[in-house]
């Protein structure tokens, strides 16, 4: 018996070491390592996956693979351009004019036939018993599908007005889509009626309601009627807000039983896209699997001959793990368990070095791993804003202008980008970032009130501090002294509390920029809600903000300074409350123009006004740095499109090979630790043994024997 046990122990030990020689004990993923699955991360659980509501990056990254709005961005085109996604052609646009003024714009959209939804229980009849027993969507085994029709797009547009949805774009769309405001009032009335009759979660069957601005012409055609002209509407048609929702899904998810187990459209999207959400645990992992009903889309590329004209998607599954902390996320990327990663400030020096020309390249460690670096300017602008309604920093007169220009010169955003962003940014000359029509680099296009052109380096160079001080003196604050108080000018800088360890250093840095001019900067840090309140009530004097583009059109940046968007007067996005009649006139002129030379020139005039009036100190445009593993096919980065998973391709066998090579468990320290423990406990054991066997009383036996004799 003892022999059998001993032999069994030997076998188990041998198996253990054999297995450990070839396995990866630290692999966080289940399943076959050689499967065509992409592994990536998300940092915070999305609040919703409802396409009418989702507006965050994490949510967009998921739903853009599932839902298909009418249009999408051409993946390789720069400047960014749109193309049909589910349409046979771009929308046919007709305008209705009266006395030369455009009253309405009518978009006619024609769908491709033969597009089907993912398999979903909403299209099948599941028994009541199964419905009551369901705890997640996959518990309902009966699924079905149907063809995408124009009515589905119309249904989703009506959802934008539903009081149960709270779409963030309803405000904008109600100005343009005819009848959307009226529909909202009717829906709210019916909603309240149902609530007052005791229904806690009212369901509004939107098929019963008419939206005058949306007409379904036939099975595959529908029209959208807009008030006036709005050329940027095409960009909205590329967003999930205008993706289709089948009425069956809306009705299915209204089942009261499902709300108890979070089986709602917020968490279980239903689309026609290349992927569907097969597993959804927003607090742990979200899995996208290939939609078996996807029609296929050809990959039009010249960069990758192997994949050119092949049908997308190429990857079978994508697993997104929730990783809130940088350290585990980064280490798993280095171990090869994630296929792509960003670069945090903590790891930057480990990854990036600057070459002789000052361009970022990968360090030798990263090159050895075969990691690839992709950089792309993000269509975003960060700036320090001046409240133009403020007595001290606001106002359009010459003196106040000079004060603002002096401050704009003093704040060295080049230093900020170097110190706090590892040079991942471009100092801004105006509100429009690179890649957007209206942006141009070069001597002619710098901000002449803040920069000079350095002919040696052929780069903009910030004006000297002496010029800033001169401007400050001309503004009535010589050496930063307030003539009324005879003390340094005191300005209040409002900022929302952040969670980065760099926050205190950044605020100190900002204080030092103003101290260069002799100005005292009082930093008023509050939580985000109080900060927003201050902007809305004109209590903020100076503040920092950023704007991420909704779409790649200059209108989406220049509208930030239109007086009709003043945050104080109209609750809009013009946080500086800038108001200039000439600017407004030019804005109204350019906003509906196509991208022509005339539009470009108007934009330059508008930027010139902003540079002169300086309602804000333009900060920088951030650059995104993304790392991909060597087993991913190289793909051009795209900062605007979100539905890019279908273009991705990887080589799983290479990945499995390298993961195994990089992650062999190291066992000898365990053995060493056991030996050390044995060395500690052995003397203790001996000490105990000696103590226990030591006689209680020591006898002199020799003397005792003599005594007896």
């Amino acid at each position: 018996m003892k022999k059998i046990i001993f032999n069994a122990f030997l076998v188990c030990t041998q198996m253990f070491f054999c297995v450990s020689a070839f396995s990866q004990w630290n692999n966080p993923h289940d399943g076959n390592p050689i499967q065509n699955t992409l592994y990536s991360t998300f940092q915070s659980p999305p609040k919703t996956l409802d396409p009418a509501r989702a507006y965050t990056t994490d949510a967009s990254g998921i739903i853009a693979q599932i839902y298909e709005p009418p249009l999408q961005y051409q993946f390789f085109a720069r400047p960014y351009a749109l193309e049909p996604l589910t349409l046979t052609q771009m929308p046919v646009i007709k305008t209705v004019k009266k006395n030369g003024k455009v009253l309405y714009t009518i978009y006619t959209l024609t769908l491709k036939p033969g597009i089907y939804y993912q398999p979903h229980p909403a299209f099948a009849k599941n028994s009541l018993e199964n419905i009551l027993a369901a705890r997640q969507l996959s518990d309902l085994k009966k699924t079905g599908s149907r063809e995408l029709i124009a009515e589905d797009y119309a249904y989703e547009i009506k959802r934008l007005a539903s009081p149960t949805v709270h779409s963030p774009i309803f405000g904008i769309m109600s100005q343009y889509i005819v009848g959307l405001s009226d529909l909202e009032k009717i829906l709210e009335k019916d909603y309240l009626k149902q609530r007052s009759s005791g229904i806690s979660h009212p369901f509004l069957d939107l098929r019963r309601y008419t939206l005058s601005g949306v007409t379904v012409l036939n099975r595959y055609q529908y029209q959208i009627k807009l008030n006036g002209e709005y050329p940027q509407f095409n960009y909205w048609l590329a967003m999930p807000f205008f993706a289709p929702i089948p009425w069956e899904a809306d009705q299915f998810y209204a089942t009261p039983q499902f709300k108890r187990y979070n089986i709602t459209l917020d968490w279980y999207p239903i689309g026609t896209g290349p992927y569907f959400l097969s597993e959804n645990n927003p607090n742990d992992e979200m899995v996208l699997a290939k939609n078996p009903n996807f029609r296929g889309e050809k990959f039009h590329t010249v960069d990758n001959k192997n994949l050119a004209e092949k049908l997308m998607p190429f990857i079978d599954k994508a697993v997104f793990d929730l990783e809130k902390e940088n350290i585990p996320r980064w280490n798993k990327f280095l171990q090869g368990y994630y296929d792509n990663s960003g670069i945090s400030n903590d790891n930057f020096n480990e990854v990036i070095q600057l070459d002789k020309q000052g361009h970022p390249t990968l360090t030798s460690i990263m090159q050895k791993k075969g990691v690839r670096l992709q950089t792309e300017v993000v269509p975003t602008i960060y700036y320090l804003g001046f409240n133009m309604l403020d007595d001290v920093v606001g106002g359009n007169d010459n003196k106040h202008q000079k004060l603002r220009q002096a401050i704009a010169i003093a704040i060295s955003y080049e230093t900020y980008i170097h110190l706090f962003m590892n040079d991942r940014g471009i100092p801004a000359q105006g509100p429009i970032p690179p890649g957007i029509f209206g942006y141009q680099a070069g001597k002619k296009y710098i901000d002449p009130y803040v920069f000079d052109w350095n002919s040696q380096t052929q780069q903009p160079q910030r004006k000297s501090l002496e010029i800033a001080k001169k401007l400050l003196a001309e503004a009535g604050y010589p050496n930063g002294i307030n003539p009324k108080t005879h003390h340094p000018l005191m300005l209040n800088y409002d900022i929302a509390s952040g969670s980065s360890p760099d926050d205190a250093m950044q605020l100190n840095w900002m204080r030092q920029q103003f101290a260069k001019l002799g100005i005292d900067l009082v930093i008023r840090q509050t939580d985000y809600n109080r900060y927003q309140d201050k902007l809305r009530t004109s209590s903020a004097q100076l503040f920092s903000l950023g704007w991420v583009a909704d779409y790649p059109d200059p209108e989406n940046f220049l509208f930030l300074f239109s007086s009709n968007n003043s945050i104080v007067k109209f609750g809009g996005e013009n946080a500086t409350n800038y108001s200039n009649a000439t600017f407004d006139h030019l804005f109204n002129q350019m906003k509906n123009m196509p991208n022509t030379l005339e539009r470009f020139n108007i934009i330059q005039s508008m930027i010139g006004l902003l540079q002169q009036d300086t309602p804000c100190a333009f900060g920088f445009y951030p650059i995104s740095f993304v790392l991909t593993q060597q087993w991913m096919d190289p793909l051009k980065p795209n900062a605007v499109a979100n539905n890019t998973l279908k273009y991705a391709n990887l080589h799983p066998s290479l990945r499995a090979q390298l993961q195994a090579a990089w992650n062999q468990p190291v066992l000898w320290p365990i053995g060493l630790m056991l030996i050390i423990l044995a060395l500690i406990f052995l003397p203790l054991f001996l000490m105990y043994y000696q103590r226990e066997n030591k006689p209680a009383v020591k006898r002199d036996l020799k003397n005792k024997a003599e005594d007896h004799s």
Binding site: W25, R260, N283, D321, M687, Y688, E692
Partner: protein, 325 residues
Amino acid sequence: MIAYLFRRILYTIPILIGVNVITFVLFFMVNTPDDMARMQLGQKHVTANEIRQWKMEKGYDKPLFYNADKNGFEKITDTLFYIKSTDLFLFRFGQSDQGRNINHDIFQRMWPSLAIAVPTLMIGLAVNITLALLIALFRGSMFDRTTMMTCVAMMSISGLFYIIGGQFLFSKLLKLVPISGYNPGWNAYKFLILPVLIGVIGGIGAGTRWYRTIMIEEIHKDYVKTARAKGLSEFTVLFKHVLKNAMLPILTGVVVIIPTLFMGSLIMESFFSIPGLGSYTIDAIGQQDFNIVRVMVFLGTVFYIGGLILTDISYVLVDPRVKLE
């Protein structure tokens, strides 16, 4: 004892009401329903009408404590406080501000929290008690002094260091366990090894010192002298007789924390990406989800009071001399 327990349970009700009131007041001192609406609706393009509709749907359009526009009892009952509180005491937690069912989320998330907390507690207890007994066995020796110094040093080190150091050593350098992650079911074991190990090691310093003190106190009692006089080995004296009597203070210290194991550990769950209740609570605070915050505070209070009651019961079970009156 039944009467005593019944009385303790009755005392719980005003405590819970008080905690609920304080949570409510504190939360709405810092956040307004408008702020909560903006947080849920997003920051771009949100209009005043959408905020109004959101508040109406979630019930945040009502006055906090007193509704002057209503008559009679409705002045109190048609208020945010009353509506949100009544279901709470029936453990019907409703939906979060994001529309997720809170009961379901808590039921799903408590298992990962327990999966870390229970093994950490059990293994930690076994390790700390064994170490304490060994130290008592070799009290006064170099081993005793060295281990006490080591325990003090271990207590002084931040828990975060153990986490980051443990991930670096065991996951990155030695590649023995995954750095982070979680899988439901039996596959969770490989993700729990490291957090449990770190939890146990992090608790050795304080736990061993505390239990050593208890053991040393017991060793000087008369029954121990009697046991030695009877010729029992020191090992038997400590591990059989001393341990049994030392279990009373140990047990009372452990029982009180058992209910709070459900609430999870925020830092562990964040660094190891464990979808437990600790991260659930902190995420809710960050997102100003009042429904989740008040439920978690309520549950935490219930568990804490439950732990104290269990402690009293365990006293009676372990020591027959103790009576609850």
